[in-house]
């Protein structure tokens, strides 16, 4: 971690060795994280304070003045704000909560991994049970699910597709290994032109 990367050296080597043009894993941007808890009465006040009509509905993400805001559960939203921005962001939100909510600095409790490329759906579907088909999982959607055995927050940033995975630091080693292994598998499939999902290309069936 000494070089400023949030990944340990052995993981950095692992992902740069595995990644290829169609599926690339990199450490995501550093962020400060806030958990905003709000009962129904406070949700609207917070949304208005942020210039939004409402906070994101279940399993959605929206950009706000405080950074990306993710729905986590009926009374919790996660804000990913600029590094060092937690304190200011808390001051923006806190006055509107009164006694109907709380804002907790949870910076550092999750690290962002970025996964990009046309083969990434294959990579994710090798370890994540979600339906990530573009017809049902569109840019701007997020979902909490599992990679292998551990909880992650998955966000489809754009249609590249570009994914952000929010992973607790102690699970990063495990998650990166699964993703790197999935990338290696996707590369082998591409090189062997094996059809795996309707979205992989090019495709050819093996006998």
């Amino acid at each position: 971690m000494a070089d400023g990367s949030p990944l340990a050296a052995h993981l950095g080597a692992l992902i740069s060795k595995a990644s290829f043009d169609d599926a690339r894993l990199t450490p995501g941007a550093r962020v400060d994280l806030l958990s905003v808890r709000a009962r129904r009465s406070a949700v609207q006040r917070v949304a208005t304070a942020l210039g939004q009509e409402s906070l994101p509905p279940p399993n959605a993400c929206r950009a706000t003045i405080l950074g990306d805001c993710f729905w986590l559960r009926p009374d919790e939203w996660l804000f990913a704000t600029v590094p060092g921005g937690a304190e200011a962001a808390m001051k923006t939100v806190e006055p509107h909560l009164l006694d109907d909510g709380a804002v907790i600095d949870v910076s550092g409790s999750r690290i962002i991994l970025e996964l990009t490329g046309p083969r990434t759906r294959d990579v994710l579907s090798s370890c994540c049970p979600l339906d990530l088909d573009p017809s049902v999982f569109e840019p701007g959607r997020c979902a909490q699910s599992i990679i292998g055995k551990v909880s992650v927050l998955l966000h489809l940033v754009d249609a590249t597709p570009r994914w952000h995975l929010f992973v607790p630091p102690s699970y990063v080693d495990y998650v990166v290994r699964w993703l790197a292994d999935g990338i290696e598998g996707a590369r082998a499939e591409q090189e062997n032109a094996l059809a795996t999902t309707p979205h992989s290309s090019p495709v050819r069936m093996l006998p």
Binding site: K149, N192, T197
Partner: protein
């Protein structure tokens, strides 16, 4: 059989060399292992499992109950691979012999790549025969997300062996066009993919063989096999029908196969016998004779138990000049020296004829394949016309189509597939325009009367050679014995005779087994039924089940932010829950005990530091936070002042201990709660459960923050001096910063650090918490600035020894599932003033009974005796039977006390201090004395100082 000079779907220009039982053989691209063996003249593939009889290939597909091989893979071996669906590849190495139906595993790891994939679709079609293809084509045209899986090497199913034309094209061409159309429209078509396990709510586990060509697999890093975990909104089971053999004497000889297999080997693999006899109870069986005849094979006759059939196929056979044995049966066979079929004995109205033949094609009719339906307890009913079970009602979200649904002709199967697709898609809200469905050109065949025949009674009465289940060597005699033993239920017959317990679950044996049992017991076949089907439909290797979850991908290994710091100090790690924790920091040449000894004395005599970041940490806040914690914790945590901490415990509703930990009040409405390492997630879930289910109106917010903070404990008589150096701006004197006080300030330059005076060692101690990634800063600073104070990093082993000396429990280790706070010596903490979860049960007499298992300390009499956790404690070592008084829960070498001490749960232990018990260690037991759990510094002067 012999290979014809032309024809078949094999590529004669691309021969493939392979080995079978050590023999070098050659087949062709497009062969299966079974067809390659037959083409190479290997008719006898091995011997049967218990009787050692020569056996051959009996099918060209999933019915196979004889042809299984042990197949070598790179560095490993796979048992029980079905030859009839294993594509031949260059360099394939397989073994048959007598081990073929048992299989074996090789010692050592299997490094092959086995993959897993989650998949989702609107419609999953299982089976790519006529019904499955018709369904998938229709659904894909309607724009649905479709997946089509086929167990065989190629799509097509029955179409591949039938000469029909579909939509004006030869069947085989239609199949390949259909596959291409599906593929190009985005349908995922998987071949060599067996739907093995039906999951609830429309799921399916599909096992796919990808590395059909091992060279591709090894060179390209492709997985050898892949497990698909499929979820579909609707499922169509178009699993087809299997041909049923007929049971007669010596019906297991190599050369006897099913009529569908005979046709498939001819059409797909250009394999033909010299003389092929047919024994069929249905018109369909005549196709084999007609196909052979057309290919120039000598057909000595067709044996049909029925009176002359009026159907179209028998008429064609007659027109071709083939000899018909009407109202006749094959009642036995003979073999040559190697066991191969030579003749069949045909009994008819005019007596017995011996007919020479090298292949005998048999058909007892076709029956639906319903394993997946039955796995989820889908109902079936007996269809007297087919003599087999057909589906009664499909399960919710599922449709059964084609031959699996009893539609046995190509025409009916195509139409039924389209019907099922329409209904299935409608259930997903997808409308299908039009009513078109693929149609075969040939007119429907007129069929003769059906007659169901399961067995031919042996003429000499010896039915110990009339095989019902070839894979298990179960004979009619075996069924007779079962029935004679009073067994009537088909599931009991199965277990008594092993019929249907083979790798293929007796698919081709169970209808015969049920029907013969019925005839032996004089009951209707419908009443006896057949044994059920359980997952998986096909044997799966353990390796495909474990998949990629191996090594570091098997179980998450969590490390703290200090992991590399520990490693740099030469730490030895051990797993604790999912965490890797430093267990000790040995110096060169030190034994385990010497290391723990040195680390313990450093903490007791100077100062030690330990990484306790794995402790669970929870942020609890809100106007009702105090009320909430008071309701969950056993003592008056609500009366803790801001800036103070309190040790407390949580109980289940039944009064048993759930966890213990420290509750710190950060602000009026804000708490920081710690849990033991193993209970971090449990406690958060526990809090959420109560808040959501019982007290939703309460304004409390619970946030797990374990990985927000690294925590380092600094413990020992000189800890204060070290903390004073690390946090020069902090008042650390005992008066300003007493035991159980909490301060926030700058430590080693890290702002906002939390310092809590809590102790798990019994020494003067400070727990410093800073943001996760900054943990190493504190660690390094403590090591550098404490050098002259004798600062020593210590691990889990020493932490354990220190807490055992002090009688500090770990909930779950020093407690049992039913241990209450009273049992664990924590009765003092139970508040007399308030209600909390568990209180009501704790107040009952039974929870405070004298004889309960209570926490005590134990001291070993002998200096060298280790007190092993889990060891029973008895009153006298030689007694029989032993009366067990309790067990050791924790034990350690105490450097401070110079002997082994431990903690134990002992019946009524609190009143038994001073008593002698024996740990069941060694031959004579080890003597221990029951003492107070607190072995060291009973008044706590060191901790509070």
């Amino acid at each position: 059989m012999r290979r014809l000079p032309a024809g078949g779907d094999i590529d004669r220009s691309r021969p493939l060399r392979f080995r079978y039982d050590g023999r070098a053989l050659t087949g062709f691209t497009g062969d299966t292992l079974a067809s390659a063996l037959l083409g190479a003249g290997v008719d006898v593939i091995g011997t049967s499992v218990s009787l050692g009889r020569p056996r051959g290939i009996i099918s060209a597909g999933l019915e196979e109950s004889s042809g299984f091989a042990q197949v070598a893979r790179a560095g490993a071996t796979e048992p029980l691979v079905r030859m009839s669906t294993l594509p031949l590849y260059a360099g394939l190495e397989a073994e048959g012999g007598s081990r073929i139906v048992k299989g074996y595993l090789r010692d050592g790891p299997d490094d092959g790549r086995f993959d897993k994939r989650f998949a989702h679709c609107d419609l999953l079609v299982v089976g790519a025969g006529p019904a499955g293809l018709a369904a998938a084509l229709l659904a894909s045209r309607a724009g649905a997300r479709v997946m089509l899986v086929e167990a065989d090497v190629v799509a097509g199913g029955a179409l591949l062996r039938d000469a029909d034309t579909v939509d004006g094209q030869p069947a085989a061409a239609w199949v390949s066009n259909a596959s291409a159309t599906l593929h190009n429209s985005g349908t995922l078509v998987l071949t060599s993919a067996t739907a093995a396990v039906a999951l609830d709510q429309n799921g399916m586990i599909v096992a796919q063989r990808i590395g059909a060509n091992r060279a591709v697999s090894e060179a390209g890093g492709l997985p050898e096999q892949r497990l698909w975990h499929v979820r579909a909104r609707a499922i169509i089971l178009a699993t087809g029908a299997l041909e049923r053999p007929i049971v007669f004497q010596d019906n297991d000889r190599p050369g006897i196969m099913l009529t569908g297999a005979a046709r498939a080997y001819l059409r797909r693999f250009a394999l033909a016998p010299d003389r092929g006899l047919v024994f069929t109870a249905t018109d369909d069986g005549y196709r084999a004779a007609l196909d052979w005849h057309a290919a120039g094979v000598v057909v000595p006759g067709i044996v049909d138990p029925r009176a002359a059939s009026t159907g179209d196929l028998p008429a064609r056979a007659r027109a071709a000049g083939l000899r018909l044995f009407a109202e006749s049966v094959v009642e036995g066979t003979s073999a040559d020296g190697s066991g191969r079929l030579c003749t069949a004995r045909v009994r008819g109205p005019r007596g017995v004829v011996e007919v020479e033949c090298d292949v005998l094609a048999v058909s007892g009719g076709f029956e639906p394949t319903l394993g997946l339906h039955q796995q989820l307890r889908g109902a079936t009913r007996y269809d007297a016309r087919l003599g087999a079970a057909v589906p009664a009602t499909p399960l919710p979200g599922q449709w059964i189509a084609g031959a699996a649904n009893g539609c046995m002709t190509t025409r009916d199967a195509l139409a039924d597939g389209a019907r099922a697709a329409r209904e299935a898609l409608r259930s997903c809200g997808i409308d299908v325009p039009g009513t078109a469905c693929p149609t075969p050109e040939s007119p429907a065949l007129l069929e003769g009367a059906h007659e169901v025949i399961w067995r031919v009674v042996a003429p000499d009465g010896d039915e110990s050679r009339s095989f019902v289940d070839l894979h298990r060597d179960t004979t009619v005699s075996g069924l007779v014995r079962a029935v004679g033993a009073g067994i009537g239920h088909i599931e009991h017959v199965k277990r008594y005779t092993l019929v249907g317990t083979g790798v293929e679950q007796g698919r081709s044996a169970k209808t015969n087994a049920g029907a013969i049992t019925a005839s032996l017991t004089g009951r209707p076949v419908a009443d006896v039924g057949t044994s059920g089907s359980r997952p998986p439909t096909e044997p799966l290797t353990f390796r495909i089940l474990s998949g990629r979850a191996q090594g570091p991908m098997y179980e998450p290994v969590r490390t703290t932010a200090l992991h590399e710091s520990h490693a740099a100090l030469g730490a030895i790690f051990e797993p604790a829950a999912q965490w890797m924790r430093a267990s000790r920091y040995p110096r060169a040449g030190e034994t385990l005990r010497e290391t723990v000894h040195r680390e313990s004395l450093a903490v007791r005599g100077a100062v030690g530091i330990v990484d306790v970041s794995t402790l669970g940490k929870i942020d609890v806040r809100g106007p009702d936070a105090t009320w909430f914690l008071d309701r969950l914790y056993a003592n008056d945590v609500g009366r803790v002042a801001v800036g103070k901490a309190r040790y407390s415990a949580l109980c289940h509703l039944d009064g048993s201990l759930l966890d213990d930990g420290v509750v710190i009040r950060i602000a009026e409405q804000r708490y920081f709660v710690t849990t033991s390492t193993g209970h971090a997630a449990t406690v958060v879930e526990w809090m959420e459960e109560w808040l959501q289910t019982e007290w939703p109106e309460r304004r409390v917010w619970v946030t797990p923050v374990t990985e927000r903070f690294s925590t380092i404990a600094i413990a020992g008589p000189t800890a204060r001096a070290l903390v004073a150096r690390l946090a020069p701006a902090m008042e650390v004197g005992n008066a300003e910063f007493p035991f159980l006080a909490v301060r926030h300030g700058t430590v080693a330059g890290v702002e906002g650090a939390q310092v809590a005076r809590v102790s798990f060692s019994g020494e003067l101690a400070y727990e410093v918490s800073v943001p996760w990634a900054l943990g190493p800063i504190i660690w390094r600073a403590a090591l550098t600035q404490g050098e002259d104070l004798g600062v020593t990093p210590y691990g889990l082993d020493t932490l354990q020894a220190l807490r055992i000396e002090k009688g500090y429990i770990i909930v779950g280790q020093d407690t049992e599932a039913l241990s209450t706070p009273y049992d664990a010596g924590l009765g003092w903490m139970i508040s007399a003033k308030k209600d909390f979860v568990g209180r009501r049960t704790l107040d009952r007499r039974a929870s405070q009974r004298d004889g309960r298992q209570q926490l005590v300390g134990i001291a070993a009499a002998d200096r060298e005796t280790c007190l092993v956790e889990g060891c029973a404690l008895v009153r006298a070592p030689g007694e029989s039977p032993q009366s067990i008084e309790g067990h050791i829960t924790s034990g350690c070498w105490s450097a401070t006390l110079g002997r082994h001490v431990g903690l134990a749960l002992v019946a009524g232990g609190r009143r038994r201090h001073g008593e002698t018990l024996y740990a069941t260690l060694g031959d004579s037991g080890a003597q221990v004395t029951v003492v107070d759990p607190v072995h060291y510094d009973a008044v706590g002067a060191r901790r509070d100082g």
